[in-house]
Symmetry: C2
Subunit: 124 residues, 2 copies
């Protein structure tokens, strides 16, 4: 269960606010980025809220998950990419996925965090 969890909180996104409130386009973007990173989706669910129309989306991965929340009225997005590294080191794929999504939203500022998770089991 050892893994890497990357978070990024994006502010001042230059991406069109229409993208940030379009669940179908966000779903397509997320699945395309997951595939390009070489990760394996096993399911996904996207939900659009009422006005101002933020979207919450998640892609379940064989390696763990991707989560995405948008606030079109704030030009803001938060991203989570969590990969398990049990059978292979998926860290580079996680970094590539996060970078691709960040690039799509074109934030003025991104606050990133990096959590190494599950280390106790790795020491067992």
């Amino acid at each position: 269960m050892r893994g890497l969890h990357l978070t990024a909180d994006l502010h001042g996104c230059a991406a069109a606010s229409a993208l940030l409130s379009d669940a179908e386009r966000l779903r397509a973007l997320a699945l395309r980025a997951v595939g390009a990173a070489g990760l394996a989706p096993v399911g996904e669910l996207f939900h659009r809220f009422g006005a101002p129309g933020g979207v919450t989306g998640m892609v379940l991965l064989a390696e763990s998950h991707l989560a995405l929340h948008t606030w079109p009225e704030l030009a803001a997005v938060t991203l989570d990419v969590y990969v398990c590294n049990r059978d292979a080191d998926n860290s580079a794929a996680a970094e590539a996925l996060l970078a691709a999504l960040e690039a799509a939203f074109a934030p003025a500022h991104s606050e990133r965090r990096r959590l190494v998770r599950g280390d106790v089991a790795a020491r067992d």
Copy 2:
């Protein structure tokens, strides 16, 4: 978009390994705990992998999300509870949800982290 993201990596879970590989029971447990914490689910998706039968589940919340990954062969579970605090401070509900799920899995050890997210927007 200011919010609180709690993670917990649970090791040595005393909960039956049958629970850790039962997507339907985990879904019911998660939704019950979300409701008891006063959070608002807007969708959920649970996936069971092949042998040894780990489960990945996510509950989309009006407040952000809950994610859960199980490794029955390791008696291990990881939890994520992420709540946005834009319209109200949902921190106590997030703590209550995490505590309820931890209690259900009865870990020998829990490695917790607490991320305050989206502060830049809060300062705008």
